[in-house]
Amino acid sequence: MSRTRLIAANEWRLMRRNHVARLALLMLLALSAIATFTSIAHRAESDALRARFQAQADREFDGQPARHPHRMVHYGHFVFRPMPALAAFDPGVDAFTGNTIFLEGHRQNSANFGDVRQSSLLAHFGQLTPAFVLQVLGPLVLVFVGFGTIARERESGTLRYLKAQGLAARSLIAGKALALGGIAALMLAPALFSLGWLVVVEAAPLSGALLLAISYAIYLLFWVMAVIAASSMTRDARSALLYLLGLWALTTILVPRIAPDIALAATPLPTRLETDIAIQDDLRRIGDSHNPNDPHFAAFKAETLKRYGVTKVDDLPVNYRGLLAMEGEKITSRLFDKYNDTQFTVQARQGDTATGFGFLSPAIALRSASMALSGTDLDGHKRFLEQAEAYRYAIVQELNRLQAEAVTFADDGNRNKDPEAARRVRIDPKHWHDVPDFTYRPASLDERLRAAVPGLALLLFWLAAGAAMLRLASRRIGAAL
């Protein structure tokens, strides 16, 4: 057996005989197992619930009786975002952004501009998921199990004795790292089981799951190296523990907590109220479709009459009110899109700033990569909002088109006075059936990988930093004897 493996085997033997190490590891494994099973069950349950609600919402929309198309525009429609399979591993911002939105004519969907997006939603903390256990508790257990691995040898004198046996510092470090790496691998086991389950049973993408496993392995490996380095470079085990707890608190709790706040302060996002007021101001400036003297809509009317070669809206072959609704929807949607793009640009900048803190915190680096690979990052939410908005616009314009083509201008004008006209403007409900159902298109694997690149690159940076620390520690061990 090589010296490295001998040292690792001895270290495992010592850990098996250490009550604290055994208890800490057992607790983590138990938490990890609980997190794995509850997350998988929760995700399956939520997904089934969402699918049921979506089917119910579709049925209710399709089952509406004969109505005026504009009534249907305001009847609205619910859409639900299905959770990606890997959300069971890392739900990311999902729990904070929500996955249900109400779509209605002339209004931006209910999720956009919400104050919940103020914090960039990167500060999520405390959900018992496999990701949380490994990101936050995993390093803590490695600290408690490994802080004394070399420092105690120095304190007790065995380090000097080991050196006197002709043991090279690098063999000692490699053996200790192998031992603690084995513990990290044990911690990773429930997560690997969870990822395997999601791939086999829930059809999660294999390469995404593999990359997730590699990301978490790199993260834990960094902590293994940090623990060994601190244990090698400090005078005693107590100091090693204090330094490592400080490092854990700083990089795993404090920096990830304050990074989004700093990002928000650096690039503030207007509140929902401010955005609503700004949109109303802009709408007032653009024009009011109900005001016959409004310059924009007066020009629209003139241009429409010219296009059809008539002089009065009554003579148009289509219902002018429907055309007006289409134009109004186009204008308001364009305005909503403009504000939405601005918001997403600011959020992207906030996200970049927050991810930049990944140079100070490997936990931020991992979270960024983990959420991107799981499809539960803010980009996933943005994708859902964009698709939902495109869907909203399409169905509203389809209903407006029905108003223009299936309802006459005269009936539309008399529907409140003439019961026959009121009956005729209620068009056949088969039209609601023709409206296609909302189908969410999740990010492709390529897109997820691209989104994960900054986080993965930062993780590699931390891995290199860990290796450099170990090299330094190896030199220090020799010098300290």
């Binding site: 250490n18 004198g157 080991l162 006197a164 002709g166 043991l167």
Partner: protein, 261 residues
């Protein structure tokens, strides 16, 4: 008859080759004009010692005389400012790992893994040196060191200083290396264990091991050492051979005189 003569000739030739090799091989421990400064203090100042195969050299000196520093330098833990150290022909500064393969070291305070038994400690440390002694081999060494049978399976957390010392002695015996460094080896031992230990040293000496021990124990040194060097202010100020018949009282007097200088 012819066969017997051929055998005898062959044995003589082997012996001659062996003796030649022994004479031409470097001395197990050779320190020449060693100088080592720590901070503003010169700890070793022109120290020279040579310990031959099968010789026990005792280094005596007061606190701060440089005894333990000498051992640390031999083990390559400290880099001298000048001078030469060779352990089995290897420079412990330039080739620390190779030099340490030649040395078994018995520290004053023996450090063992408290959660392991004596057997487990021995097996682990020896495995790191590339040796895998069987249980009977370990028992033989532990018997020679004087550790009771019933204690050997117990975790060493409950061991006394003397018992730990015995485990370390057994390890040193089992390592079977040309050089043995001892730092106050009998400080935790009772008189009987000390006598056993001295007997054990003689066994190792007979095996050809070069033994360098640092100690305060003048009587113990006089009992087992071939030469005693008095270390004061970083160098050997006097050297005696107990075999030359110096009585203990005179030796004590001479030691006090030399080291006080």
């Amino acid at each position: 008859m012819h066969e017997t003569m051929t055998q005898a000739t062959s044995t003589n030739a082997e012996l001659a080759t062996h003796l030649l090799a022994e004479n031409s091989s470097p001395p197990p421990i050779e320190i020449t004009d060693l100088r080592l400064v720590r901070g503003s203090r010169t700890v070793l100042n022109g120290l020279s010692i040579k310990v031959s195969r099968g010789e026990i050299y005792a280094l005596l000196g007061g606190n701060g005389a440089g005894k333990s520093t000498t051992l640390s330098a031999i083990l390559g833990f400290l880099e001298p400012d000048s001078g030469v150290i060779r352990v089995g022909g290897f420079d412990p500064v330039l080739e620390p790992d190779r030099a340490r393969t030649q040395v078994a070291y018995l520290p004053e305070n023996v450090a063992l893994y408290d959660q392991l038994s004596a057997y487990e400690n021995i097996a682990y440390f020896l495995a790191l040196s590339g040796r895998e002694p069987g249980r009977s081999e370990m028992d033989g060494a532990l018997d020679a060191a004087g550790l009771q049978h019933e204690a050997r399976e117990r975790r060493v957390a409950g061991y006394s200083k003397g018992m730990r010392q015995k485990v370390a002695i057994a390890m040193a015996v089992l390592r079977d290396v040309p050089v043995l460094l001892l730092d106050e080896p009998t400080s935790g031992l009772d008189p009987r264990a000390t006598a056993d230990f001295n007997a054990l040293l003689n066994v190792l000496k007979a095996r050809g091991t070069a033994i360098l021990m640092v100690t305060h124990d003048l009587l113990g040194a006089a009992d087992c050492a071939d030469r005693i060097g008095f270390l004061a202010q970083g160098s050997i100020v006097d050297e005696v051979r107990p075999s030359e018949g110096i009585d203990v009282l005179a030796l004590h007097h001479r030691y006090g005189e030399r080291t006080a200088a």
